[in-house]
């Protein structure tokens, strides 16, 4: 068993890597993640490593064996609610940040309430109709929030086709825009992770005050 690392030690390590001013911006960001599958679980791990101060994590699913090919869960998590299993993992990376897990289905009715305090929201669902629902709800009802949506990361195409673009007001799109699970048939860890890293990079940039993709 390693000795308990204190808040001060962990914070000093982050500041050493990221710089004092940047770390302060990252600590004060509040980010919502809608969906904790291949995109959301990997985005959450990266944001935790950055030291994002407040993470709201929402999903209505439990971990299944078919998730382990690309999602940040372990065999021992099978059957557990994803928000609970992921929060436990994030606490092991940094126990001094705030995590707010929600095991529920996001709807147009509850999204404004659950993500009310977020300045940045990541859409990380797999269903395109859910992606459209969340986009419409956030852009209509949460005027303070910037939204990052992922679309197009299925199949074994080049990682270089995945980009981040700014398509609407307060709206960034990560993905290749076209590779649909319905057509490509599979989701593979490296390509889904590249898309998740694009989304996490955009969160980082927004938290640091950059608004371009």
């Amino acid at each position: 068993m390693t000795k308990q690392i204190t808040r001060q030690q962990l914070s000093a390590a982050l500041v050493e890597r990221h710089g004092q001013e940047r770390q302060q911006h990252l600590y004060t960001a509040s980010v919502g993640i809608a969906g904790l599958g291949g995109l959301g679980s990997n985005i959450a791990v990266q944001l935790t490593r950055l030291g994002i101060g407040y993470l709201i994590l929402a999903d209505c699913d439990r971990v299944e064996i078919s998730n382990l090919n690309r999602q940040s869960y372990r065999l021992c998590d099978i059957g557990r609610p994803k928000p609970e299993a992921l929060t436990e993992q994030l606490l092991q990376i940094n126990p001094y940040l705030c995590y707010e897990p929600h095991f529920l289905k996001l709807t147009p009715q509850n999204i404004p309430e659950i993500f009310a305090g977020c300045n940045i929201i990541c859409e990380a669902f797999d269903d395109p109709e859910q992606k459209a629902m969340l986009t419409e709800t956030v852009l209509q009802r949460l005027p303070q929030a910037k939204l990052i949506v992922c679309s197009g990361m299925a199949g074994a195409g080049s990682a270089n086709a995945i980009t981040t673009s700014r398509r609407l007001n307060r709206f960034y799109l990560c993905g290749d825009g076209t590779a649909d699970i319905a057509a490509d048939g599979s989701l593979l860890a490296p390509r889904v992770s590249v898309c998740a890293a694009h989304a996490a990079t955009m969160v980082m940039r927004l938290a640091l005050g950059f608004t371009t993709p």
Partner: protein, 64 residues
Amino acid sequence: MQINGQPISTAAGSTLSQLLAQQGFDVARVAVELNGKIICRSDFSKVQLADSDTIEVVQFVGGG
């Protein structure tokens, strides 16, 4: 009228629903901004378009 930066012509008085269908979009999977303002799906059939309109449409694909 412009849609995603491309000039198009459509019949005067067309609704947003008609335009999206004509352009081959799946309305259940899109987000639409009309002149910089997000439009609710439930309003697509009520919004009448004008020649001066600028429309941005993002269509999502599945996977995550």
